[in-house]
């Protein structure tokens, strides 16, 4: 029942906190002591997007044992899909006032919209792409990877190479995604101007709601038979296979779902930060996202949210107060959490058994196997 309390507490924090901040922003006068300025709203919105990404990573890493070092790629792809819609939405209000072509295409001398930009003038189409593009990429990638039983660190390295390759690709101007500068100068989303305060509050609330939904659905899914099989695969893939399950199918399913969730997080991220560029694909981002999950606690989902928010709060503080020391801080965090806090904060607070992460057992089994076979 403790886990249920955790779920309720998490939902209360996410939804209640978002609602409270929104109310304090909209209902209090600007000079008031309790007034929440708009930049805090968009900052919180950004953290919540990161939390969605963390939930996605926790699904595959915490429950299925797939350490992904490339999830920011799905996040960024969702973001690019949304960014393309937002670019089309600018219409003739751009610098070059071209009603069809985004500014950067006019700038590099294109006179025709590439085919893959068709349809992005419709909001529903963009929403579909937000889920489809990361989902299809994840399916193709996962199908190859899991079918050939690439697992463990090999898979991690390949996911990292994937996001690295995508980063290089999106840096190219001829890809038609704005190259180095990416996409920015968005005007409005589905008719709501992005520079209006109510829009950013609304986006933040939607993000909180999406996060809560993703959290609840993931939590529920992990309690079903499907979730239990995933945990079994994580802890002893060969045994699960011998029991008659097909680990690759389970892994592929959770991998694609996780990519879609990450893509949705990215789509919510772009209108709130106002820019998407290829640096979102940087391998470092994906690894940083993994450490959010590790800090909060693997296989808890609530821990992923907690870790994402805490680490990013710390990052915001460090990069403004002690920018030199941020890399030292995050580097130390990586080391300390993995060495001393393998169960994360939730594991520490909830004590033994709550996270149900049999950290010692596979470790012991692995080292025994290592000793046996060399």
């Amino acid at each position: 029942m403790r886990a249920d309390r955790l779920t309720i507490a998490t939902l209360a924090c996410v939804l209640g906190g978002a609602a409270l901040l929104a109310a304090l922003n909209l209902l209090t006068p600007a000079g008031s002591a309790v007034h929440v300025p708009s930049f805090v709203i968009s900052l919180v919105g950004k953290y919540l997007c990161y939390a969605i990404l963390a939930v996605a990573i926790d699904l595959v890493w915490g429950y299925a044992g797939i350490l992904t070092l490339g999830h920011a790629a799905f996040f960024a792809l969702g973001g690019y899909a949304m960014g393309m819609y937002l670019m089309r939405e600018i219409g003739a209000r751009g610098v070059y006032a071209n009603p069809v072509l985004p500014d950067f295409m006019v700038f590099i001398g294109w006179n025709k919209l590439p085919w893959y930009w068709y349809g992005f003038d419709h909001f529903w189409f963009a929403l579909a792409m937000v889920a489809l593009v990361p989902g299809v990429l994840a399916w193709v990638f996962g199908w190859f990877a899991f079918r050939s039983r690439v697992s463990g660190v090999y898979l991690s390295i390949i996911t990292q190479a994937l996001t690295y390759a995508l980063m290089l690709a999106f840096f190219r101007n001829d890809m038609g995604f704005g190259g180095n500068n990416g996409m920015t100068d968005f005007k409005d989303i589905a008719g709501f101007p992005l520079n209006r305060e109510t829009t950013s509050v609304g986006l933040m609330l939607i993000t909180a709601a999406v996060l809560a939904t993703a959290f609840v659905l993931a939590r529920a899914a992990m309690r079903t038979r499907f979730g239990k099989v995933l945990v079994a695969i994580r802890d002893a893939e060969a045994r699960t296979r011998f029991l008659g399950y097909r680990p690759e199918a389970y892994k592929l399913a959770v991998w694609v779902a996780s990519a879609v969730i990450a893509g949705i997080g990215g789509a919510l991220y772009v209108p709130q930060v106002g820019i998407i560029n290829p640096s979102e694909f940087a391998p470092g981002n994906s690894i940083e996202a993994v450490i959010w999950v590790a800090v909060g606690g693997r296989a808890t989902l609530a821990g992923a949210i907690l870790g994402a928010v805490l680490v990013n709060l710390g990052k915001t503080w460090f990069t403004s107060a002690l920018p030199e020391l941020w890399l030292f801080a995050i580097g130390l965090l990586f080391i300390l959490v993995t060495v001393f806090l393998p169960r994360g904060i939730i594991g520490l607070v909830a004590g033994r058994g709550a996270a149900a992460l049999p950290e010692h057992e596979p470790a012991a089994a692995n080292s025994a196997a290592r000793e046996a076979t060399g």
Binding site: G152, Q160, A238, F328, L333, F334, T338
Partner: protein, 545 residues
């Protein structure tokens, strides 16, 4: 033609027709048998420009040992003649200390300045000087100088040079130089548009045999040729294109091997830490970076304390980088990695954190900008081999990468440390029972891998920017190399590095560097799909780790 008439004529027509006039004069001059000819020195001492130009050319091909000095003096405005006509036409070269006789080079007492006039030049004389200076080398005793001169004549393809070339060709004994001269003759002939159709066809064939980019562009630039010549030209261009394609192919192989050598260097250390020990060291790239910075520091120290050794700085940097990176690696193993054995994913995250710390530490100490590591002279320059141009530093790196790999294999195969390393990796408990201190061997193994990474840093400092981000550029590729090659197998690492390098460079010209990377990645995933065995040398339950 009196000097006066000639001067008037030159004043009016020179710019329009000087090329033709020169060519005619030169042809006339060279057609005369040499003994019957007037003294070229006397021609240079004449007062009309055409005669001077004629004299310059005549002097250039005369083989007179004073020719180079006199022509250089004329170019620099240091050549003086008698103001009034004299039958012996004296010429003087003004030197720093006085005057010398142009004909003999002997020092002479200063003639009365009133009797002297400087030999001045105009454009046509200047052109004659240029051709002459090229031509002078054509008759140099050194084949290399003759070859250079012929090559210069080929590149300029100046119409006036044709008789010169023919004369040189008649004398030439060196087959290589003669070939270049024939090519120069062909280029000059075609460019000038002279010559009958068989001569032109022969010239086209000559250029087709040369088969490089300059021959191709020269052929492509020819307009208004008779139909037979034009079709021969297009056929020649097609031949050259095929040849160039072949050379391009070889060049890609070389570039691929060169990139493969870089990857091999970066991955050799990883083949130890990751391949042999199974430790996912994401800070491996930072070990390379530390090696590169060690090179920088060693260079600074040498420049400060022993400038005489600057050229050999790299030789000192290699052991220094090995020791620095190796000790750092041992420290990392003892303080961090040994707590994470058997937990590869955690090792990955912790070492990633470590890599961030190392990067920031180097950035704090040395600053975020690139450090300037100089290359010694013996590593710069290029060697050309047929249609290939191989840069010397890349050749050194290829050799060095092979050397490092061979040394590493030798250590593992025959060294005492290598024997212990293999014993511990094959059966840790048995090795311990035999009295091997396994934790110490772990530390040494990790130190060895890190030290090799440091050595790679020395090599990479020669071809890449020494910046805190140096290592990041290689870490993903290095892991891919080790994974493709098969974990725990140094031959596999060599294979993987060369495969990745060559594939990358072969795709690059068609699709660009970025798409090449992506295609290589897709290729890798497919490769792993086909050859999962190459990925997993571990058997049984350990494969799950």
């Amino acid at each position: 033609m009196t000097p006066m008439q000639s001067k008037i004529a030159a004043g009016g027509r020179c710019l329009r027709s000087c090329g033709l006039v020169l060519a005619l004069l030169l042809a006339a001059a060279l057609a005369w048998p040499a003994p019957a000819r007037a003294d070229p020195f006397a021609a240079i001492a004449a007062t009309n420009f055409d005669a001077v130009a004629d004299g310059v050319r005549a002097l250039a091909v005369s083989g007179n040992p004073r020719a180079a000095a006199v022509i250089a003096a004329l170019r620099d405005g240091r050549l003086y003649a008698w103001r009034w006509p004299r039958p012996d036409a004296p010429l003087f070269i003004r030197t720093d200390s006085g005057f010398a006789d142009a004909r003999t080079g002997a020092k002479v007492s200063a003639p009365p300045p009133l009797n002297l006039r400087r030999v001045i030049v105009n454009d046509s004389v200047r052109a004659a000087i240029e051709t002459a200076e090229g031509a002078l080398d054509l008759f140099s005793p050194q084949p290399a100088a003759r070859r250079r001169a012929a090559e210069a004549l080929y590149q300029s393809a100046a119409p006036g040079a044709l008789p010169l070339i023919e004369r040189a060709l008649a004398k030439e004994r060196d087959a290589g130089v003669a070939r270049v001269l024939r090519e120069a003759k062909a280029a000059t002939l075609l460019k000038s548009g002279s010559g009958d159709i068989p001569a032109r066809l022969a010239a086209v064939a000559e250029l087709a045999a040369r088969a490089d980019l300059s021959a191709r562009s020269l052929l492509a630039s020819l307009q208004g040729q008779p139909p037979t010549v034009a079709s021969a030209i297009s056929a020649a261009i097609a031949t050259i294109d095929r040849r160039l394609e072949l050379w391009g192919l070889l060049e890609n192989v070389y570039y691929g091997i060169s990139l493969g050598a870089v990857l091999l260097l970066a991955a050799s250390g990883l083949a130890i830490t990751f391949g042999v020990m199974g430790v996912i060291n994401m800070a491996h790239g930072e070990m390379v970076m530390v090696g590169a910075y060690t090179t920088f520091v060693v260079q600074q120290l040498i420049a400060a304390f022993a400038p005489a050794l600057t050229e050999l700085g790299l030789l000192f940097a290699i052991p220094a980088a090995f020791v620095v990176a190796g000790l750092l690696g041992m420290a990392i193993e003892r303080t961090l990695i040994r707590f994470l054995y058997g937990r590869p994913l955690e090792t990955l995250l912790a070492t990633w954190g470590l890599s961030l710390i190392l990067q920031q530490a180097v950035r704090s100490i040395f600053g975020p900008t690139n450090q300037n590591v100089t290359s010694p002279d013996w590593m710069s320059g290029a060697v050309s081999l047929g249609g290939l141009t191989l840069t010397v530093n890349r050749l050194w790196i290829i050799a060095f990468a092979i050397l490092v790999l061979a040394a590493l294999m030798a250590v593992l195969r025959w060294g005492g440390l290598g024997r212990n390393i293999r014993a511990v990796m094959q059966n840790r408990r048995m090795a311990a029972a035999m009295g091997i201190r396994t934790p110490w061997i772990d530390a040494l193994t990790f130190g060895l891998g890190s030290g090799i990474a440091g050595i790679a840093g020395v090599a990479l400092s020669q071809i890449d920017n020494v910046s805190p981000n140096l290592g990041q550029n290689y870490i993903i590729d290095s892991f891919l190399v080790v994974v493709v090659g098969g974990v725990g197998n140094l031959w596999g690492t060599l294979f993987g590095a060369m495969l990745l390098g060559v594939v990358d460079k072969f795709v690059e010209p068609f699709e660009g560097a970025v798409l090449a990377k992506i295609i290589v990645l897709v290729f890798l995933i497919l490769f792993i799909q086909r050859r999962p065995g190459g990925m997993f040398p571990l058997k049984g339950r350990a494969a799950e780790a």
